[in-house]
Symmetry: C2
Amino acid sequence: MLAERMRRVRASPIMELIKTTSGGNYLSFASGLPDPALFPLEELRSVTDEVLRTDGVGALQYGAAEGYAPLRQSVAAILRRRGLQATADHVLITTGSQQALDLAARALLNPGDRVIVESPTYLAALQVLESLEAEYRVVPMDADGMRSDALTPSVLNGSRLLYTLPNFQNPSGATMTLQRRREVAGKAAAAGVPVLEDDAYHDLRYEGEALPPVAALAENAHAIYTGTFSKVIAPGVRVGYLWAQPALVERLAQLKQITDLHAGSLTQRVVQAYLQAGHLEPGLERFRTAYARRRDVMLAALETHCSPWLTWNRPAGGMFIFARIKPRAAGTPLDAADLLARAMERGLVFVPGAAFHPDGSGSDTLRLNFVSAPEERIEAGIRILSEVLHEWS
Amino acid sequence: MLAERMRRVRASPIMELIKTTSGGNYLSFASGLPDPALFPLEELRSVTDEVLRTDGVGALQYGAAEGYAPLRQSVAAILRRRGLQATADHVLITTGSQQALDLAARALLNPGDRVIVESPTYLAALQVLESLEAEYRVVPMDADGMRSDALTPSVLNGSRLLYTLPNFQNPSGATMTLQRRREVAGKAAAAGVPVLEDDAYHDLRYEGEALPPVAALAENAHAIYTGTFSKVIAPGVRVGYLWAQPALVERLAQLKQITDLHAGSLTQRVVQAYLQAGHLEPGLERFRTAYARRRDVMLAALETHCSPWLTWNRPAGGMFIFARIKPRAAGTPLDAADLLARAMERGLVFVPGAAFHPDGSGSDTLRLNFVSAPEERIEAGIRILSEVLHEWS
């Protein structure tokens, strides 16, 4: 009885893993959850009460599909600092950036349309594309991000969307170089392929200078750039945003209205009040300081304990280290799903990387979240991983 | 460049009307907005602070796609009192009931699928169906709701969904009788057509006994029932819900996760704390008392001022009176859109009814919201309407 699109709608293997392990006493490198100890709880309590005290009616009434006007302006200011030409009319406030991806893809894709995706890439974006019955043109990643040389005419021509996550990509942790960004932006624009740029982790940079968005590097009338306050304030408020040309924002707002009328009136005002009160930067600094240290702890632990069996990257930001199991000289290749089963027996969870690979590869990869666990447990977790690898390989 | 579905995605004429008139000093019978003076602001301030004080981490962290477990239980209890067999597993918490309609339709409809709709019907549901490229089988309404005798085999067979709004329908104000509910439920179930029942106004009943949901009156494995806290607490929190069989809820939750991960963690807990604190009933009583009086004021004013030109219904609940312009003996038929243009010159806004009619009829109808304006202004507004009608007809 279900619609055709539901054939490709499935539970997220990560969500299933989190559900399976949520009862037990696991040390988890699996989730994409921020560390709740770092949430700016007192600041949010204070601005929430202020909003209800001073603008209760606005916070509780229906609102415009496009979003709360002052917040659209604040987001535009944030995006200008990132290098995008942005006014409030370029901004649509969404129910988290997941919705921004969903709206963008629904507005642009017919069933069977070809979408250029990185491999590996963000699982929940693949789920959006699956639900829209998209076909993939898979472009490999390396340490410098999407391989722009793989954007050949045969990949570009006939494609209807190019999805990229250029900063501290989930899951690979890779950041696309400026040179590559220019090439990707230029090639997509020249071929008339809209870019859908997912920049959820932009402000979680622990080293180096911020790079301009791909969407800022070429004129591409249907380019859409998405971001979120989930990683820099808190995900529970469900406030994200997208940037596009105003004519496209208007169309996306119509779709947004159909989907859920508008983002929460209360939570949009809470985010706006939080920004107005100047809480964003100090809060970000807390996230960055803690997460950068945890990244370094995990990198050092991997170096100490896992070098014989794994290779991995050093992400400049974000939440994830992506590791690969070294090939064995003989015998069956090692599969990260088997590794997980063994790790779980010892109380450790991570995400096997296959699900992130739209081309079916990646069974030898694993994603390690370095932000959820406190520093002192990260070393312990990596030691468990090394013990399992040692016994197993 | 946009997807095929976007051809049928348009701005809501109501939203456009509200935007056009929002700057001016209009007396509005146009919106579907609750009266913000009745929002339980102090109660919400108190429970919101309690939530952030006692469950700040839960309120700010990511959550399950299905919704916050205690709220799912509370909603199940509410639905059992309405006559539905419901456990928490039957409930999906949504970002307002608009999203419940969107998820239900996305899960069930392929492009070109036939959907049975009432005429007139809820505009934003039609917008959802348009975005899914549905075709309509239109069933007329009368004072007793959907005309169940019009559910003939030729209407039912081959249809993939039956959408109905049985209580105080938006826009008609009609309530479906128990007899009709039984017939609609039975015929849809026998023909294997899933019912999508929109019960957004359930608790805004001002007279008579509550009637059981259509979804409770026949076994229909794919029936989906939707509701919301927007009308009984406040719309700005964006918390709605749907009921379906657990297997279908599971599938809808997968789609929900793709769409926006989950409903707001904070706002779900705020609603749950509000329910737990026992605020719902007293708040509802305030809404009902005020709205019932306004309905009566509007009905009396219509009787006093508009009888020569209009006929209208007496809704047992909800927010809307639906009026029809009496036919003229000669000359062109009167069009409510022309009437609106004249009314706006005198500072009054309402919604012409044509947009609610999927069959293109209804140009002689108008929807009058009786809950947004205070009592003392309702009479003044109806007098303006009568003056315009008098001059014009």
